[in-house]
Amino acid sequence: MFDWMMNLYQGLPTIMQILIGIQLIVIPLMLAVAYTTFAERKVIGYAHVRVGPNRVGPRGWLQPIADALKLLTKEVILPTNANRFLFLSAPVLTIAPALAAWAVVPFFDGGALADVNAGLLYLLALTSLGVYGIIIAGWASNSKYALLGSLRSAAQLVSYEIAMGFALVGVLMAAGTLNVGGIIEAQSGSIYHWFLLPLLPLFFVYFISGIAETNRAPFDVAEGESEIVAGFHVEYSGMAFAVFFLAEYANMILISALTAILFLGGWLSPFQGILPAGAFELPVIGALLDHGIHWFLFKTAIFLFAFLWFRATFPRYRYDQIMRLGWKVLIPVTIVWLFVEGVLVAFNVGPWFA
């Protein structure tokens, strides 16, 4: 069955293979986004000792579908004097980089849509493009609150991108390659070979900057509903608003997946090198214990849960505190750790740099 499908796939022209690959990534991703919104409401609900949505479908499982239908049927309102073209293209500009970045993500061994050499640079460049949607949305809305939200967001994203970039420099120093698949290969061996231990400060810096880059609580001053109503998307309604929402959750999943790939070895199994080789040859359990996409999804889910957990736990940072954390705490930490890492690499400290 599976071989037959693979043969059919190999026989198709390259462009068709790429298009099918895109569908295989985007459709599950969009479903994951929909159910992340549901998971968020449930998780925060339980964190607040409530039950969360439980009315639509069995145990509320159809809630995201109902939400999507509601948003699809609502009117997209254009504010007076708003720039029509920019106003409508802003949501597209937000979601396009969030989806395009998935092209270089390896889901399993060799399972990336585009196995490019400069994959890490590509990811960094695309995540830095997402800010345009927010800036343009704020400016094209012709609204003071939206403009204030977009300016806050622009300053925040540009500041945290530096810390994020430095954390990625640490990863590529350790891996010796910009290829995302190669970074995972460099972490293989056992759970101790993952970059989590040697790059622990960079791991925290990367995840914190990731939360800031996605404008999530506690760094969600760009929305700041208690101060500037809803920030950059205050004038958006219907599907235009929903696209911003989709982009935010797609970015969350992307940051979680990247943290799992860069620091926790992506699809590598944590049992590699610990269990005897015979354990991986058991009928069903062996396949589960061995490397595979399920480990990647599991690791991603852990970080995704952390996003929701943080939202229910931390109060929002004040704007000057965000700037101080980014510039005066995270960036010095990365610079110090890059120096430490340089020393470790120079002296071949094992098992990572041996």
């Binding site: 050499n117 400069a118 800036i135 343009i136 704020g138 400016w139 622009a154 540009v158």
Partner: protein, 217 residues
Amino acid sequence: MTFELVLFYLFGAILLGGALAMISVRNPVHAALFLVLCFVAAAALWLLAEAEFLGIVLVLVYVGAVMVLFLFVVMMLDINLATLREGFTEYLPVGIVVALAMATVLVLVITRYITMDVPERAGPEYANTEALGAILYTEYVYPFEIAAVILLVAIIAAISLTMRKRPDNKSIDPGKQMAVSREGRVRMVSMPSEKKKAPRRGEGSGTRSPDGDDESK
């Protein structure tokens, strides 16, 4: 015409159109966005020329950081176009001289290389990032380091120019805020508890408790 050639002309046309639109549109925000479009088209051309490092870094640095700050400033400014246009005829001669000088340099450079043979395509194992790194950190290591130091000096100069203590600035030292302890804020007072008085007439069980639990009503 191969597909790559079609892409080249497509992105070339976008680049030229974007550049023309950038200098001709009236709205400064639109001009900045057209410049972004130019950068993206130029990055695509570089990708076609197998210079993926340059292309991606162009997007990362110029589109992702520099132009964001540009837009940031342009959106905040209240630009009066009339005052901007005032000195147009006055500066026109200088502008023409600069434009001619730049055009001459461009023509000289292009005519020098226009007879060059088409460079051979590198194989699929060619990595532009590695090739650039290998040459930057060996042959050109001193110019590279000097350029880095000059940039660092520029950063420090820019920061020191803008760092000034304004007397009307009410910012608080975050270190002090972090160091706040319970003892500095709260004083625990030991007080004997009040004796419960007998309820007066008219204030039966319906009286509010002194801590005001309004939510329960």
